[in-house]
Symmetry: C2
Subunit: 673 residues, 2 copies
């Protein structure tokens, strides 16, 4: 009995053209069989590899094809053969948007002929017939050739038919091979079938320094609700620290029903401002601004002012509503109704969050809901916003985000999305795959050398690197880690140095961070005592123990050293003390090499021997080199192999070395000789 | 500007049904995104895993769906949740042919409700409304339920609405959960999309013991050309060694043009019989039998006789022709013609093989050619053949084999194909993926512990195991390795023990192997001196130093121990001497555990300590156990951890231990107490 077939190659397809002899498989990068794009920023390379081979011993040629979805058509570069049937090609993505790439390969009869011909000539064999075979191949190419090359090809063919001794030499010369390569016979070429996609972002998608603040806590004097004007006055301070993204905690009107009081208590006092993430009140919802912060016009002015300080504003997107949100009244069909007629509030049994009504993504009116939420982003894009930090995306359907981000980026390829999903790894990775530009990570909870090495090796040296761009936060308004609670100022410095050098993108929640705020609500809790989420704070940003100058130095080092603008080159190096971690980043041409050593013990001086292999930076194993600590300016003479380091966390727990390759010796001076 | 999208999820699809909240990804096994089937034999399990998750905290349910392509429809088993969003399910393939499997998963609202409900009840919260929510879910299930369960479900719902104290208990009892599981709400279930294929073979595809012989060398007296009748007389001898596949070197008429003489010399003497792989003469081609062997009727009789000895005949398929082959005359269009009008002979410049005309798979008449070659297999299938050993498949187009094997197996799912491709790894793997049942390997050239461990770990512990079934040959008519040339009888014994226990399928070319034939044509060559390929040999199979009895013992051990019928459980164990290799195989239930130790040094006695971890066989770390050498019968008392072994290659270079778990102690006897 005959069976129908689905995934196995259809024999009828094979009977359509059985002469496609080349196989293309094992293509990388390729995410989930091409289901998702890889990510790049403008100017980056896409290096594509594949296993490509044919039966028998014939030579093959392979082409990497690529195009911008906005561009006129396919471009093509030849691939080169590596070992073991692996081929490689590369192209550069020049503009934001989406590119595609695919592969094509074919049996190259001229190359096959040429290789055999050379061997026969070398072996002194009679090549009379081979000359005729070669001439036929060249003549066939001439019929495919452009006018400018036809005559030259025909001359080669004629000479080969004549087969004088030196014409045999001509038959295998490079010029002929180059010409033949221009006019290959691709009738039976194998195409890869799939077109793979590259999502190309602007540079900030890869390299960004974030500062998070609560606008309402920006007033110069205690007790007053801050405004966008107050925020504007804070800009020079933030800019001086070297940040380039200013992320504002949610700025919408705050609900009154079930409003939370200080320290997340269930009942608010009359003066309590509520959590900014309890979105929606009589004054409006997701397209409105909390009246005490200012108007939409104030906001636009503030966004422009920030731009003047090199700061781009990132807005918080939290798709949830208070019972007072206009949606509850206008679109009750977007919420789940319980059998008693009430609306289902958020819960994680036995915990209840009665101040929050989650949107019901299983409503029959989900299409209207999706479009409305899209219009929220569009509204803020119209106000000049191009970066969204998305709150808890993992509690809304994954398909919704893929659609939403796809829709927005099709219109505005410069928009960036940061996923705030602190959840299970596969969910976090899926959100990145489906379109989020950057992602929060587990960095806050990775403190030991082993943990950091494992995690950042996974993020930067596996396929994850193709779609997941880490954004490292040592703290957030919700996360004050035990390490920061117990480690004091050295812990804050160490975690900042780690975040800023392990991650091309990182951020801090300030001024809590630079002021080393470390008191938890209670022992064992990661929440801040008197958290800014539930009250207006007044921060003394000029306190002499502030880390603002240290942060400024580190951000300047980041800006000046392109090695730190990407995570792909990250490599860890052995140190014989587990309290010390050492890693490096480098530009592809090795013109900028950064080696970082951090003392992970915030209490004690630690010392040890860092082991640098010569392969790591293509170092001359016999020549010493200089490393300069870019934080202190101090220079050290190092060598390939073991080098001593010692870090007192109470002065500075980190070295950020720049490797300077060239050490002059007596031979560099005229008087030597 | 809007852009069109190809591979990224189509937003319009998402707008068709946005409530499919579950994601299925990372499915294994899945070869090249489902392009190729995985392989199993009848009765084996298919264990399927996948990453399955949804947004938020809802419970999900996942089903593994499978069906025989010949069966009536889909069957389904629930999958179970492992750690980290990984799910697993399994099914058994019961018949040869092709199966398909795919996945489906959905948010399970009842389970989600039940989990929250229990937590709320435990926390002493008011669950009045929750009871109503649960009742609604149960009532909805009742409408989906079969008649036999509707009343019971409605009773549960009614009780829950009444919400007496013990009804709350009933609401979460297992019986209700079980009932609800029968009638899930799968309106918004996510289907995986792809149907993956399992190619199911009969058991011999996985476990087979091959013996290769040249039929023409089977005559009882020297100098006479053997016949199928002579072959028949050889059957008891081969059967006594315990083989179950008898593979015959090519049996077709042999060409006369450019016939090769002894030791592959260019000119044959009048008595030289030629190479059996120079196929085609006046007497016929691929559907004919060399007249001196007998007739087709003789052949059929021989095949039947072999069956009586438990031996299945495997036929050699070599798609190449001599200049005398009928195809050359009848179908000149299937050969490549050179510009001088001659037909292109085989060459690998500067080497020429003028006795062979390769078929031109790039001919415009390739369709006719493919169909003719298929008819060759059909012809031999009609003569009772179900196993083909394919000569050099890597020199014919890969697409051709995929088509051919697909066509044949669709009609005859019991046919097996062995790929004789000694070529680059990716080509060998591709041939296995596209349909070859078994494959020759690099085993012959893997001699050291490191080489064997690396290679067999790749074959058995990576994805390769899903499609590549190794068949290990210590020798072939073309391969007499240096190890065998130099190692003498101990080398033949060691390589046989390795092949027969590392590989569930293995084979030898005899009688050269059991007679330890080790003379190369010249130093540095892997060809036999006076190779059987070019002359008729007479083997003294009763020589007292023959390995036939040893081979018989090893094949009996193979037959009696199901652990050796598969390669998937293969694990290597440390030995503190690099000349000794130790590995084990076991059945899934551990009722049969085999531990093999081989001395790889054919010259000297080697001893060392084998290290067995308790995890390897779920051993009691404190109890000794017995191992019995199945070759000698000797028993040893071993323990978890280090055990001493010593092997003198001149008596026997291998232990094949069966592990016997239970050692009785005084507590097992009545008089203890």
């Amino acid at each position: 009995m005959k069976r129908d077939r689905v995934h196995n190659a259809d024999p009828m397809d094979q009977l359509e053209e059985g002469r496609r002899r080349v196989v293309i498989e094992g293509v990388s990068p390729e995410i989930d069989a091409g289901r998702f794009p890889i990510k790049r920023v403008v100017g980056e390379k896409v290096v594509v590899e594949a296993d490509i081979f044919t039966d028998g011993h014939d030579a093959i040629s392979c082409a990497l094809k690529y195009r911008s979805e906005d561009g006129p058509g396919w471009l093509e570069v030849p691939m080169e053969s590596l070992a073991n049937d692996r081929w490689r090609g590369e192209f550069v993505v020049a503009e934001t948007g989406r590119y595609r790439y695919t592969l094509e390969a074919w049996v190259d009869r001229f190359q096959s002929w040429r290789q055999g011909f050379v061997k026969k000539v070398d072996a002194g064999q009679d090549v009379a017939v081979d000359c005729l075979v070669g001439a036929e191949l060249i003549e066939a190419a001439a019929t495919r050739a452009g006018k400018e090359d036809q005559a030259e090809l025909r001359a080669y063919a004629t000479a080969l038919r004549a087969r004088a001794g030196d014409e045999i030499e001509r038959a295998v010369e490079e010029e002929l091979a180059r010409l033949m390569e221009k006019y290959p016979d691709r009738r039976f070429a194998t195409t890869y079938g799939k077109e793979l996609v590259v999502a190309v972002d602007r540079a900030k998608a890869r390299f960004s320094s974030w500062y998070e603040m609560f606008p309402r806590s920006s007033a110069a004097e205690p007790g007053r609700h801050g405004t966008f004007q107050d925020c504007e006055k804070r800009l020079p301070y933030i800019s001086a620290m070297g940040f380039d993204v200013l992320y504002l905690a949610s700025i919408h009107p705050i609900g009154r029903s079930f409003r939370k009081g200080k320290n997340n208590t269930l009942t608010a006092g009359p003066g309590d401002p509520g959590s900014p993430w309890a979105i929606g009140a009589e004054e409006g919802g997701h397209k409105s601004i909390h009246p005490q912060l200012g108007t939409v016009e104030d906001f636009r002015r503030f966004v422009a002012a920030a731009r003047g300080y090199g700061l781009e504003i990132a807005l918080d997107i939290a798709f949830q509503c208070t019972p007072d949100h206009p949606y509850v009244r206008e679109h009750p069909e977007w919420f789940r109704r319980r059998p008693d007629g009430t609306i289902q509030y958020a819960e994680n049994p036995p915990k209840k969050y009665q101040d929050i009504y989650p949107l019901d993504f299983e409503t029959e009116h989900w299409r209207d809901l999706w479009h409305e939420l899209k219009s929220v982003l569009q509204f803020w894009i119209e106000q000049g916003i191009r970066i969204f930090r998305v709150d808890n995306p993992h509690t809304k359907p994954l398909a919704f985000w893929e659609w939403l981000i796809g829709e927005i980026k099709a219109e505005h390829p410069d928009v960036l999305f940061l996923s705030e999903a602190f959840t299970r790894p596969k969910v976090m990775y899926r959100l990145a795959k489906l379109g989020f530009t950057q992602s929060y990570t587990y960095f806050a909870w990775r403190n030991t050398k082993w943990e950091l090495t494992q995690y950042f090796t996974e993020l930067t040296q596996t396929q994850v690197r193709e779609y997941f761009r880490a954004n490292l936060w040592p703290n957030t308004p919700d996360i004050l880690t035990e390490y920061l609670q117990l480690g004091g100022r050295p812990a804050f410095m160490a975690r900042l140095a780690l975040a800023a050098t392990l991650g091309a993108s990182y951020g801090i929640y300030g001024p809590a961070f630079e002021l080393c705020e470390s008191r938890p609500r209670e022992t064992g809790s990661e929440e801040y005592l008197d958290s800014e989420k539930y009250e207006i704070k007044h921060w003394d940003i000029e306190r002499p123990d502030s880390l603002k100058d240290f942060i400024g130095v580190v951000n300047r080092i980041r800006r000046d050293n392109p090695a730190l603008h990407s995570d792909l080159s990250l490599r860890f190096h052995p140190v014989d003390n587990d309290h010390l971690i050492c890693y490096s980043k480098q530009t592809e041409d090795l013109s900028n090499v950064i080696v970082v050593v951090v003392n992970l013990d915030p209490h004690h001086t630690q010392s040890g021997w860092v082991d640098l292999s010569p392969e790591a930076f293509r170092l001359d194993p016999h020549a010493p080199f200089q490393v300069q600590d870019l934080i202190t300016g101090a220079r050290y003479l190092w060598q390939v192999g073991r080098n001593y380091v010692e870090l007192n966390p109470h002065s500075c727990p980190a070295h950020i070395f720049r490797l300077r390759r060239r050490i002059r010796s007596e031979k560099d001076f005229d008087y030597f000789m």
